[in-house]
Amino acid sequence: MRRVAVIGVGVTKFGLHDRTSAELFADAAGDALTDAGIPASAVQALYYGNVVGGETEHQLHTGPQAASVLGIPSVPTTRFETACASSHAAFRHAVMEIGAGVSDVILVGGAERVLNVSTAESTEYFAYASDAVWEQPLGLTFPGVFALIARAHMEKYGTTEAQMAAVAVKNHRHGALNPKAQFQKQITIDQVLRSAYVADPLKLLDCCPFSDGGAAVVLASEEVARRHRKPVWVLASAAASDWMLLGDKRDLARVPATERAAAAAYRQAGLGPTDVDVVELHDCFTIAEIVASEGLGLFEPGAGGRAAETGLTSLGGEMPVNPSGGLKAKGHPIGATGAAQIAEIVTQLRGEAGPRQVDGARTGLTHTLGGNTATVLVSLFGRD
């Protein structure tokens, strides 16, 4: 496989927008191409993530639609849908296409628009990523899925609601340093603990928001990347899946797909968790960050809650997690999230993250989880 680099990144502000998802993507993609210093004519393919376009925008065929709105209608375009991991799955396939020598420059990105519909509608549409025969008819929601995981983690390891709250507080503290974040204000443990239950034991402030937004990255072969500023190398990109049904998962307190994808990524890169300087991981709910930090091997199983509570995962801590504010504070436009996490790690490794910079970061990791933990992508990045 040839070496692959990220040479450009672009992200819109996350939050409420009066623009279509294709427009949001095109905005981010324009910024990514400018950042790469590469003409749009160099792009040979678009790999695109979008999840609920059919439901919230009555729009299918979102790949070529996004390419048309961007103004590059003739490149081969494919839309990926792996729930919240969609644009990270798109990224992995672009890495393989360049690695295999098929293309030299690929645009990867994603976008989502959900704030144009009611919370009740978006709650229903997000639940479509759980099983339509066995789970949706019971009234299962996405907070519900992670509430079942949270309860299992509390039972098995003694994780507390205060430890989960510490994740939210930390990510809001980071988000306050990110001008693109949906929430740029700090919150307290007390505010989290006193917020209303959405799906016990998860409360409103344990949950990431619904968000509109777009993100894009430009990938290039080594030969092309060497002609551009500060390439960030893709050291690994791995995917794993797991059972859809919660009842089929053997241990709800763990996410086997995270453990398998991480193991494959570390093997590809010849690295281990102790080599990683900065992590952007999938904190759709506070418990999701705790379980992911354990599954990635950053902490022992059961130690993720304490790690958040004692500041290990804060900026300035031993293992900074989600310097962008994470999904919790930065926001979670689901089709854009994977690409946005990659954009943050690239920014960190370039040393361009400003007040949220992890000092001296050389190796970064992104982790994106799809839906009910049935899809996980893990990628590793490094700089020269």
Binding site: T119, A120, E121, T123, E124, A127, V133, W134, E135, Q136, P137, L138, G139, L140, T141, P143, G144, A147, L148, I149, R151, A152, E155, A196, Y197, V198, A199, D200, P201, L202, L245, L246, G247, D248, L252
Partner: protein, 127 residues
């Protein structure tokens, strides 16, 4: 031979009559619920239907307070992963147990829920 059983429709027909049904692999003995086409343990395609007792304990649960539109009138309601006596687990709605009594380890018994054309899996008190 097991053709009719491995469809969701056949499963829910039995469930509607009060019978929770799993499948056992005729090759390696693996038990599965709901049915799958291939045995996840040995990839054989030799299932036999197995009636389950329908009793188990709550492995994890949540109380849904913000519900999808179709379930809004039911909220708040409890959903649980129930570990059945035979060792397999399945998700179900908890009914006829006060929400503050729902707990990990609580014994429960299967009961079909819903109208004639839309059966879903429920669990109520054992007693």
């Amino acid at each position: 031979m097991t053709e009719s059983l491995i469809t969701a429709r056949a499963f829910f027909e039995r469930a509607r009559a009060g019978q929770l049904t799993a499948v056992r692999c005729g090759s390696c003995g693996e038990l599965a619920i709901p049915p799958k086409e291939l045995c996840p343990a040995c990839h054989a395609r030799a299932w036999q239907p197995v009636p389950l007792v329908g009793e188990g304990t709550i492995a994890s649960f949540t109380v849904i307070r913000v519900a999808p539109r179709a379930h809004a009138a039911d909220a708040p309601y409890a959903i649980a992963v129930v570990k059945l006596q035979e060792g397999v687990s399945i998700l179900g709605r908890i009914v006829d147990i006060p929400l503050d009594k729902v707990a990990v380890g609580l014994p429960v018994r299967f009961r079909p829920l819903g109208a004639q054309d839309q059966t879903s899996i429920g669990f109520g008190p054992l007693g």
